[in-house]
């Protein structure tokens, strides 16, 4: 089973993507999508050494909701900062200690940070314990770290890692 269908989730996502790409749902395309969803993970299995398991689908949905709200919020915030006098910005690099361990969760956190208010993730330390984040305008670095950990890292941890370590 593991060898024939290494990543069931990825297969479903790929089949769904295929149907979106052709923009129609017909029997032929469902079969073709299923075939692609089966063959692509098989061919690329060596790129995905770890099995991803979503432990809390509902938490994932809530996370996506928070993410969308924060992207909108972040865009307004950055637009405001750009239009205001840029000389008054206080940019800084803030090291954020990570509690996440799996690759996927860390990548998602880094992406989230880049999409949300005034922060871009810039570098993951070699030991993968710290993510260096560039902020556009920081008053309080500790508050920022606390917000990232509580708002994004905790849910990601719950979704992908709870009970696995």
């Amino acid at each position: 089973m593991r060898r024939l269908l290494p990543h069931p989730l990825l297969s479903v996502v790929l089949a769904g993507l295929w149907l979106l790409l052709v923009n129609q749902v017909s029997a032929g395309h469902v079969v073709l999508g299923a075939l692609l969803g089966w063959l692509i993970p098989l061919a690329t299995a060596r790129f995905w050494p770890e099995q991803t398991r979503i432990r809390h689908p509902l938490a994932l949905l809530r996370y996506l909701g928070i993410l969308i709200i924060d992207i909108v919020r972040g865009s307004f915030h950055v637009a405001h900062l750009i239009l205001r006098n840029p000389v008054r910005l206080r940019p800084s690099f803030v090291p954020v200690p990570l509690a996440l361990k799996t690759d996927l969760a860390i990548s998602l956190l880094a992406n989230t940070i880049s999409l949300t208010p005034g922060t871009v993730s810039t570098r993951l330390s070699t030991d993968r314990r710290t993510l260096i984040v560039h902020t556009l305008d920081t008053g309080d670095a500790d508050a920022l770290i606390a917000e990232i950990k509580q708002r994004y890292e905790a849910p990601l941890r719950q979704i992908f890692e709870e009970g696995s370590e």
Partner: protein, 116 residues
């Protein structure tokens, strides 16, 4: 097409255009490489997102059936924009591009297979 949808579409397109413009304006107004990364990753993403929603609504109303290509474009955009920003920032740190903020101490340079 009803006037209501026309108004909705115009609003979406105007909002999208405004955000895209502000994001690009950031490139000119902000003062160092790292702060300039912020405009395109966020404001422009939302701007293009608005334009894509407008496009999806327009084609869904005009033609039969929902137009879902735009969902894909949005999805890919939201996945790739932060990744490219991250790579640019990482490369800039590596090349020691001048920064307004004090840069973090360089990571240990020993080769590591976990670097990505």
């Amino acid at each position: 097409m009803t006037p209501l949808i026309d108004i909705l579409l115009s609003l979406l397109i105007l909002t999208g255009a405004t955000f895209t413009f502000i994001g690009s304006l950031g490139l000119a107004r902000l003062r160092d490489f790292y702060t300039r990364l912020h405009g395109p990753t966020k404001a422009t993403t939302l701007g293009v997102g608005c334009l894509l929603i407008a496009s999806a609504v327009f084609f869904s109303v005009r033609d039969e059936g929902a137009s879902l290509h735009e969902v894909l474009v949005t999805l890919f955009l939201f996945i790739t924009a932060p990744v490219s920003a991250h790579l640019l920032a990482k490369a800039a740190l590596h090349l020691k591009v001048p920064s307004l903020a004090p840069t973090p101490p360089p990571d240990s340079d020993k080769p590591s297979n976990s670097a990505d």
